[in-house]
Symmetry: C2
């Protein structure tokens, strides 16, 4: 099987693991649940839960304690997309080839669906505490999730992104901050949690975290490159939107060629770091290599 097919297969397996954690569309509040699930089911690469699972597996993790965390991180990722797409934010009509949540359910319901998903992510992950009450790593994993999702993580990155949006005046320093946090934080959370729950040592966790940081950077820069080079059809969302919005990106600062070289460099560094560990996961290595050559 080639790697693209293998990734597609594992993305599907990841979906099978996380979809059962979605709430049922029933009760007086079923509209908000439908809006949450619409966005969650819209697909995507399931990259964060997949990275979490592969890291967990790499360190010999064997329990299903990881599953609520896999679902939770994808819920947090999804809520951030719903709120990002709102008229007051990026005002996007399409995402992954489907109409965005506020287009289908209205703006008020999209705000609530985002709030509902963020909260349900915690409801789901906190549920893991009672599954293994004696396991202190569950509490640690919860803390990592909260820290990387919040103001010192993803929300922090979104803040600077919003403040500098629509202007080309974002400084290189601000751009680094946005990249490290807006996309990077949840990727770090995914791999950290995988390691923590599988019992990785402090030292191993540090290596994982440095690798995750580089994967996040490579992933985000590749996103900018695709915005310039890919077609709207391939992306499932409007290509060239950064340029149209006058938004400065890594590509604006460094040019396409240098950006592509940096993606290679970061992912090479990530692979080298992971190779330095005693434990191995061949698929994870190939996944990282593949991510930087992706076309959407």
């Amino acid at each position: 099987m080639d790697i693209a097919a293998e990734i597609a297969k594992r993305a599907q397996e990841t979906e099978q693991r996380i979809l059962p954690y979605l709430p049922r569309e029933e009760g007086y509040q079923r509209t908000v649940i439908a809006a949450m699930n619409y966005s969650f089911r819209a697909g995507g690469k399931r990259l964060r839960p997949m990275l979490m699972w592969e890291t967990y597996r790499m360190f010999g993790g064997k329990s299903d304690i990881i599953e609520p965390f896999m679902a939770a991180i994808e819920m947090i990722h999804t809520y951030s997309l719903i709120h990002d797409d709102l008229p007051a934010m990026d005002n996007d009509t399409y995402r992954r080839g489907q109409k965005t949540t506020h287009i289908v359910y209205g703006e008020a319901m999209a705000i609530l669906a985002g709030d509902g998903l963020l909260n349900y992510a915690y409801e789901t992950a906190i549920g893991a505490l009672s599954k293994e009450p004696g396991n202190p790593n569950v509490g640690k994993a919860l803390m990592v999730l909260a820290q990387q999702a919040g103001i010192y993580g993803m929300v922090g990155g979104q803040t600077v992104d919003v403040e500098t949006d629509g202007t080309s005046e974002v400084t290189r320093e601000q751009l680094d901050f946005i990249y490290r946090l807006k996309t990077g934080a949840l990727i770090r959370a995914a791999m950290q949690i995988g390691g923590i729950l599988a019992g990785a040592t402090k030292k191993e966790q540090e290596v994982l975290d440095r690798a995750a940081e580089k994967i996040g950077l490579a992933f985000q820069i590749q996103d900018d490159i695709l915005d310039v080079t890919a077609t709207t059809e391939t992306l499932g969302k409007p290509a060239g939107s950064d340029a149209r919005n006058g938004k400065a990106t890594y590509v604006t600062y460094e040019g396409l060629e240098r950006a592509a070289a940096d993606v290679e460099q970061y992912s090479h560094e990530a692979v080298t770091l992971l190779s330095s560990l005693v434990v191995k996961n061949e698929f994870l290595m190939k996944l990282i290599e593949h991510l930087i050559h992706r076309e959407k």
Copy 2:
């Protein structure tokens, strides 16, 4: 000291307990933190953390493990107000006599400030796990917080409120659902968490929960009454807004007189339930009586 002065004093003490949990306004993301803190500091009755503290004290709670939960529930309450006030929701310009968050910081930042507060609430409460790692009640309290704040609690109530808003077609059943969840869920969470963390028995927790439900109903109906009878100046927000928005409330259905009688009835039932417990808290009783005669 009369009860109003006593409540004001304890509200201030509650503030002193929770304000230190706010994040510092620093770093690239300081704008979102400033917006979060602006809303949080805007005041209010601090009813939820106060109820939590008084319930905790009633059951003999003596550790500071309760504090992060007091801060967290007020953060969740505050985030819900920020998002409720947004143009796509209630579109309010004033709250507690101050400009709402989106008026001061813009709509995008207000959305992020709400997201940031909700997430920081969990970051703060999850921090309690490492304070008392061997205490299983901390995990239980976390679960109650998540359940009452989310789609089966407050967000669920907001959903039906949004769906029926601007129409007078809300049914009496839907109205009950909104009342039980939109305001009621966090009041229940406050008292449940106070009891759980202080080691109340299962039976005591049940009594607490029934009392809290009635307090929540009394509180919400009194809110509707004040919207009809109070002045904008006293309320710190526009009075008469329900009628102007053609919004059906408990008062629309039952009339002012019956509504006022029901407030008395519910709060009487709450006091009776609490009186049936072995443990006592005189102030809590007076607080409940006072809430239903409040003028703002």
